[in-house]
């Protein structure tokens, strides 16, 4: 189903993204293979100018990627009107085998772009660009993501068939059903909530207790943040599906992580996901910045930025927990019982 305004919009956006990224890739390759800071040749001079182009390109790519993530969610929601059986984005995404794969890839590449841009920002502050080769190697490794995304988008668009009945979120996120969605929904609150909060507590402990006590082990604690934040993101999604959603909809059978982003639920999901993404992106990056040790000037800047990132991620996490458990709290206060 290519002829749909939403699909068309996504294709235009992705084509622009891929085109610009390709431009970045060519220049990144040239910089990667020809970089020699000590050279005074004209070629090196030109390459240094090209770093500006690549930075601009990547800024554009990240901006477009965020826009596309939003647009993809909305398109999936909007297309549900057209697909029989689909009632929200879940129906659209599960109607082809590419839908959820594309969404997952988009989320992963969002984080990857974000980390790349932070590193790039740091590196550009140092006159000698110490990370230049690693940075551009990473960029070249990111390119396949963008290609696969575009290919998946086309496959998704071709595969969407308005005459095939799809399932709605009520059946995908239903404990009785089979599949990943069902097992996510089936994860009992008694199991996932302690897991989620132990990760949150571990993050807080790591930040405030371990780091304060033993300065020598500080690097380990900071490094640990990276896997911890990934775990936080994944468990948070499971908590949203299996616990938070039931209190938003006040219905045991409705466990959908998309429906509450709409106007009927006062766009509740928008700040929720915003906090989750901001917290995870900054938290992960903060942990990753620990790996930057040399040269001294760069490491100094990295520590400074790391502090900022850590603060943002902490507040983001707190906001997520508050927003996420607000429906539960109001429900509990109003009725005095659990669902």
């Amino acid at each position: 189903m290519m002829l749909d305004p939403w699909i068309l919009g996504l294709i235009i956006g992705h084509s622009a993204l891929l085109l610009i990224f390709s431009l970045g890739l060519i220049n990144a390759w040239q910089i990667f293979s020809g970089w020699d800071y000590n050279s005074t040749a004209e070629k090196q001079f030109l390459l240094e100018k090209k770093t500006y182009l690549v930075s601009t390109v990547m800024n554009f790519a990240l901006f477009t990627q965020i826009l596309m993530l939003f647009l993809f969610g909305m398109a999936a929601d909007e297309l549900a009107n057209v697909l029989p059986g689909a009632m929200c984005a879940v129906g659209t995404l599960s109607s082809t085998s590419y839908g959820f794969a594309l969404l997952d890839l988009k989320i992963v590449s969002f984080f990857a772009y974000f980390i790349w841009l932070v590193v790039n920002y740091l590196d550009n502050q140092i006159e000698t660009y110490p990370l230049v080769r690693k940075k551009y190697l990473a960029l070249m490794l990111l390119y396949p993501f963008a290609v696969v995304e575009t290919v998946l988008l086309f496959a998704f668009a071709f595969d969407l068939d308005p005459s095939v009945i799809t399932s709605c979120c009520g059946s995908v996120y239903n404990e009785g059903a089979e599949g990943l969605g069902a097992s996510l929904a089936g994860a009992s609150a008694g199991f996932i909530l302690p897991l989620f909060f132990s990760i949150v507590i571990l993050l807080l402990l790591n930040r405030f207790v371990f780091n304060r006590r033993d300065a020598g082990k500080k690097w380990l604690g900071n490094l640990l943040e990276f896997p911890l934040w990934i775990a936080f993101f994944i468990t948070a999604i499971v908590v949203i599906i299996s616990f938070i959603s039931t209190y938003v909809y006040e219905m045991l059978s409705h466990k959908c992580p998309f429906c509450f982003m709409g106007a009927e639920y006062h766009y509740y999901g928008v700040p929720l996901y915003l906090c989750l993404f901001v917290a995870t992106a900054t938290g992960m990056t903060g942990g990753l910045l620990e790996t930057i040790k040399r040269p001294e000037t760069l490491a100094e800047k990295a520590r400074l930025l790391q502090k900022k990132m850590n603060t943002v991620s902490l507040w983001g996490m707190l906001a997520f927990v508050v927003i996420g458990f607000l429906p539960f709290a109001t429900y509990y206060i109003k009725t005095g019982r659990l669902i």
Partner: protein, 409 residues
């Protein structure tokens, strides 16, 4: 070097960008106008699709839960009354209603009317009373004539009324087919109000018995059946069941009709949009050309800026802000223009593409319904490609070497 905090810095850069845009007024105005036209076109299409879909969704809620048709030789034929009790027996079915309807082609006007048979007495009493402008409310003398032929009364849509007025038949209409012995006269007792125009424009609601005469429908047969199912969750299942019991019957649920309409509207809008792609592409080439061909003054300006200590970064920011200001203004103007065009002028030209195919075009009012989602889509289609195209020329301009310029002064 511009100093101060980040915001102050950006403020100064924006200030400079604005000045720079204004200085090259003639060049930028052309881009601005084309950009506005483009955004206008894209948003008009999206707005009209949005409000049509919205209106369709609202009105189609009154559609029957399940429509049952009989298919013979791959074509729809009349349904026999023998099916009625069988379908009524299915658990979950509240009632089965029979329908009598068809089309009447009036060769002299080249117009096709939709004829629908129902008990007009119900219309006179029920809540539908409000949607009809009752006419010819007869004085007692005339009333006698009317009541003497209660089977030959009808209510017509506004579009039909306009047409019939031209041939002086707005009070009573003669149905006639060459194969008939004599024409069948019908009294027009009312017209539908304008709010219902999308559905009622080409409608003639006839008293059922009269409709049977006009449509030449035998007494034991109906055009199709309508099944009422109170529980929406059961509709799909019951439709499948009916089809399984009577493979010759075709069932159409309300959800299927809504999906089909939405698909058609989306398809139409995407079709028009994709024909716009050529225009967008041409615009992008123009932008590329304008942005890469720096005039000597511009080059000198950038050269001087860099000579007095501006970074490549800052010049890039200036270019970025220029693009953002330009596309921001054009998007805003284009969207507002589209809003006025669709909802105040009622989309002349575009309307015909999206609605109606018969000789009577419904002239209904489009309900303003702009979802913020559409704004994001408009930005994706217009602003993103624009910024993408300007990245490379902007960089090219920003890396201009001051000494190369100075030497040429």
């Amino acid at each position: 070097m511009i100093s101060g905090s980040w915001f102050e810095r950006q403020k100064n850069i924006i200030d400079y960008s604005l000045q720079s845009l204004l200085r090259r007024r003639s060049k930028n105005i052309l881009i601005l106008i084309i950009f506005i036209v483009l955004v206008f076109a894209v948003s008009s299409i999206l707005f009209i699709t949005g409000s049509l879909t919205q209106e369709m969704m609202i009105t189609s809620n009154d559609l029957p839960d399940i429509t049952v048709q009989r298919i013979l030789g791959g074509r729809q034929v009349n349904v026999l009354s023998s099916y009625l009790p069988e379908i009524e027996k299915i658990p979950g079915v509240e009632a089965v209603e029979t329908r009598v309807w068809g089309y009447f082609y009036l060769a002299s006007l080249q117009a096709n009317f939709t004829i629908y048979g129902m008990d007009l007495n119900l219309l006179e009493e029920g809540e539908y009373r409000k949607i009809v402008n009752w006419k010819n409310v007869p004085d007692p003398a005339e009333n006698q004539i009317l009541s003497s032929r209660p089977d030959f009364r009808m209510i017509i849509g506004q579009g039909v009324f306009e047409l019939l007025k031209d041939i002086q038949m707005e009070k009573a209409f003669l149905f006639y087919q060459p194969t008939w012995q004599k024409p069948i006269p019908f009294d027009i007792i009312g017209t539908f109000k304008t709010e219902t125009e999308l559905q009622s424009n080409d409608m003639m609601i006839l008293q059922t018995e009269g409709a049977r005469r006009v449509l030449e429908l035998p007494p034991d047969e109906f055009s199709d059946l309508v099944v009422h199912v109170p529980n929406p969750e059961e509709i799909e299942n019951i439709a499948l069941k009916i089809h399984r019991y009577f493979p010759e019957l075709r069932t159409i649920t309300r959800a299927q009709i809504q999906n089909t309409y939405a698909t058609v509207f989306n398809w139409k809008s995407a079709f028009v949009l994709s024909s716009l792609l050529v225009a967008i592409f041409a615009f992008l080439i123009l932008i590329w050309d304008k942005a890469s061909g720096l005039s000597p003054e511009e080059k000198r300006e950038i050269g001087i800026l860099k000579a007095i200590g501006w970074d490549t970064d800052v010049v890039l920011s200036v270019k970025f802000w220029e693009g953002l200001i330009l596309s921001g203004i054009s998007s805003l103007a284009g969207i507002l223009l589209a809003y006025a065009y669709i909802y105040w002028l009622r989309a002349p030209g575009l309307r015909e593409i999206f609605i109606g195919w018969s000789t009577i075009y419904p002239s209904f009012k489009l309900m303003p319904d702009v979802d913020p989602k559409f704004l994001l889509l408009i930005i994706t289609i217009s602003v993103v490609p624009y910024l993408a195209v300007t990245v490379f020329p902007a960089w090219k301009a920003a890396i201009t070497d001051p000494d190369a310029i100075m030497r040429n002064i």
